[in-house]
Amino acid sequence: MAHDAATAPGTLEPGKGLQGFVADWSSDQRAFKKVPWGKAMMWIFLLSDTFVFASFLVSYMTVRMSTTVPWPNVSKVFSLTVAGQEVPLLLIAIMTFILISSSGTMAMAVKFGYQKDRRKTALLILATAAFGATFVGMQAFEWTKLIMEGVRPWGNPFGAAQFGSSFFMITGFHGFHVSVGVVFLLIMAAKVWRGKLDTEAPGFLTGRRGNYEMVEVMGLYWHFVDLVWVFIFAFFYLW
């Protein structure tokens, strides 16, 4: 009386949709079925990071609402003079397009990773890192420009003092995330290029065996950095 493979415990095909949701959470095995733990943990980390960035943005909203001094004209503060003409938010727009492009190359790197196309994956991750580094470089330029114009965390010549502290805090924390991402992208590109994911070689830090899911987990972090920028762009630069 052999077990029917479909009903044997542990091999049960989990249900889909709302039923699957209830079944997953009420089971005492693993909640996230068919989700590699690395991916689930990255998502939970990103959730916590969401709260960090949301705290920054909410505190920015609070100080901006409560200040009695006019907020600086952001469109003007971040304008660039091109050929004698002032173009509002030009640098920020370019940074936005660069970060979106880096997300595009990252998504394709994940795709080629699952196809086990080592070469294309590594090159696309490298392109992503290059876009990210460009973004950080432009942010450094922007910071320099504003600091030269007298913007400080405790005050600035354009209006409400809270502008400086919000700006340095929010963009600084985001820029830090991008920088960390670039470092990890370079490490990942090297791993992919050397074929460490194909041979399932243990990583130098955690000893985890290499596989192409790592590229997707890395991609999740990178897309999150882009996602946060969407909110910063809307609330800080456009509002």
Partner: protein
Amino acid sequence: MSHAQSHEHTPAAPAKLEGQAHPISVYLWIWGLLFVLSFFSYLVDYFHFQGFLRWSLILLFMFLKAGLIIAIFMHMAWERLALVYAILVPTCALLVLTGLMSLEGDYTFHTRGAYFAPAVQEAVKPH
């Protein structure tokens, strides 16, 4: 025969890992859409839209972009509902925080107006 039997009795393997496999055109389309949406939100500022039109457009483009990134680039659209809910539902708490802090900010603003009115008048000048 014996091979088949031994296979049947192997303990349940850890969940089979499934890679995300989608045609590359999906990503290129989303990439293009994100460019267009970003361009539109830039135009909101460029044409100096003000008031309700401004912030409704900013929010619209923001949520569309965020949705595309999460759903397609981060593959949320293809994840199991258990994971989707675990990530998306807690973020709703942020709406509560935003609501509370906007009340708080408004209150602080009016308190400052009531107690430091001269400073307010002094500060409000064109820039």
